[in-house]
């Protein structure tokens, strides 16, 4: 069944790129969906996909022994998920769970980084967009780390 969601070139992560750039980045794309509660990523598994979320919400989780999963951040339509394919050892560092039904594009990492994982060649437009995502995520993490709502010094 054809999806009624916008096509890949309209995803916020790729919006504004030329058709050639989109083609170069999204050279191997699948449309995937997950029911609520399903894991999109599991800590320790091989990382070989960049997800461009199209609908639904995903919780990034870290399992703390004896305490169970702790939610770190919620990602939603328009966000990207999964960057551990960029660097060795190419394993997911966190779990990612669908909080509600999720639809996503799944981009194959081997296509994104080129034929040689040891010497990845990223499309410049992709590199800049990943950098921006990482920077914005770093800002959010910094804010969270400050524990702003804590009372007292």
């Amino acid at each position: 069944m054809a999806s009624s969601l916008p096509p890949i070139e309209e995803h916020p992560f790729l919006r504004g790129l030329s058709p050639e750039q989109v083609k170069a980045i999204a050279c191997d794309v699948r449309e995937v969906s997950f029911p609520a509660g399903a894991l999109l990523l599991r800590e320790g598994d091989e990382a070989r996909t960049l997800f461009l979320l199209r609908s639904g919400r995903v919780s990034l989780e870290l399992n703390v022994p004896g305490q169970g999963p702790r939610q770190l951040e919620t990602l939603k339509a328009g966000d990207i998920l999964g960057l551990s394919w960029l660097f060795p050892p190419y394993r997911w560092h966190l779990d990612a769970r669908a909080v509600e039904p999720v639809e996503s594009f799944a981009l194959d990492a081997s296509c994104l980084r080129g034929p040689s994982p040891e010497h990845p060649v990223l499309e410049p437009a992709l590199a800049m967009r990943l950098l921006r995502q990482l920077y914005e995520r770093l800002e959010r993490v910094r804010m969270q780390r400050m524990d702003l709502y804590k009372v007292g010094p």
């Binding site: 169970g68 702790r70 951040e73 804010m143 969270q144 709502y149």
Partner: protein, 282 residues
Amino acid sequence: MSTGALPTAGPMMPEPLRVRSLRRETADTFTVSLDVSERPGGFPFQPGQFNMLYAFGVGEVPISISGDPARPGELLHTVRTVGAVTEALRRVGRGGRMGVRGPYGRPWPLEEARGLDVVVVAGGLGLAPLRSAILHLLRHRTEYGRVSLLVGARSPEGLLYRRELARWQEDARLKVLVTVDQAGPEWKGHVGVVPALLRDVELEPSRTVALMCGPEVMMRFTVRELERQGVPDSRIHLSLERNMKCAVGFCGHCQLVPFFVCKDGPVLPYDRLRPFINPREV
């Protein structure tokens, strides 16, 4: 716009009022309802104003009025127990008395916001001074454009007015987004920081007014995101917390360069605050 009724017995004289009820909101926060039935006309105030609450023999603290401005017969304050005075206020208990001076300060610019979209941003206890503004917006809903409420807290347990928040989330007249910094698996809501919620609000920058209260760092990041989206600084209003003592602009304890926060604020537009709010020397 008037800034509300003046105290009747001199600006420094607290009026003893009886505690009608005391409700626990979170582990360290409670809402106290004070009996104003003996006051003719009750206790009129404008959203965003504050009172000085006095725990007899202990001390006085500034606390925002968190009730409904259309119901002056009910005077509500939400207080976080952070020190000797607020702990003493909590211990007053039902039937006891605490002193009240006020209302003081510059309110939220709800007249100016008429006809415009309103984005209300609250972090932690910052929802308390915004509650009266939200109730006003709901009561006069047709006079405003789109109204969005963004709320952040440390954890789900740290959210104020949880039942009311759930009701507002069901209310089609409001778009309500709630986030927490950390949560266990039982929380089905959003996890993350407040400024990130702005991405989910449809903003028309030229016709948007933002009302904001919370930790100053949170407000700084939220202002940055609003500016990035094109909302003018003059339409971004912050409620500040400073060391208010006299509350009438005499003592200077709450001075922020040209402003006495008690008198010129606590609500101020960011275009006036910008030069003074961030430098570390201030």
